[in-house]
Amino acid sequence: MSIAVPNLKIGPIEFASRLLVGTGKYVTYEQMAEALAESGCQVVTVAVRRERMSDAKGRNILDFIDPAKYTLLPNTAGCFSADDAVRTARLGRELLEGIANPGAAWVKLEVLGDKKTLLPDPVGTLEALKELRADGFVVLCYTSDDPIMAMRLKDAGAAAVMPAGSPIGSGQGVLNPWSIRIILEQLKAGDESYPIIVDAGVGTASDVTVAMELGADGVLLNTGIAGAKDPLAMARAMRLAVESGYLAARAGRIPRKLYATASSPLEGVIGAKA
């Protein structure tokens, strides 16, 4: 029997790592590169922004991400309309085609509904998804933990549905495990390999493990690592947590019981009367 964690398949691409990591909010590009390496991730998300936002030294993030080692997943973060998201996705594809990255036709679709909560706009998300699919994109769809919306996105051709554990960057973990379970059960019914990735809200390793133990195929996170006091240690912790959760989910945990069950034999304790 093998206890290896099998590859994660999303659309046409496969990865050994089930952790997808964002590249935002690191103190330096050097720290980001080290954290990505420590996390063991093979997919990194990037954002598309107006030129001149490179760091003070005028360096570009691409100098710190080896495109041979990582598949870049451009996002549409910050877009509050389907139209902006579609335009941003097309710009992202053009950028990735320039560096011949396998993630070129990929996009992490986010259409946000509100600046304070950064919760997704379901109507705009579905609209943008349809347009991007028609334009040949492989769309990984950020959404809330609403099972009906998740199903709508799958039906509209999302390559993966990525429900939020909790609001982006909040570190609250998986707030509604019951909803995530329903999403997993319904979207995977008769289609076991359909990828569900918990995206957003993860604060620490146990949050990742919870998501994976629920049966998620992977976890996408950024702030949990980048915002930690020691991002390298947290990156390693997240890597281990994904593997732990994946294996535990399939190992068949013991049932919860109200009372204790001794692990050591009850017979043969010294001083006992026969």
Binding site: A47, R49, E51
Partner: protein, 66 residues
Amino acid sequence: MRIMVNGEWTEQPEGLTMAALLERLDLEPLRVAVERNRRLVRRAEFAQTLLTADDQLEIVTLVGGG
């Protein structure tokens, strides 16, 4: 002629191509993507794309994000 670049009006010489503008701005064409009046301009078309007055450009690159 005036050309809007990333939300700001700039003064540019007549007859400028997209490729020439990027060179003036000291931008590596492989590291940017460009929209002209809300439509993507493919990199292969930079050299032939002639800019006209009041064009509005978005010139973007990749940055860190989640």
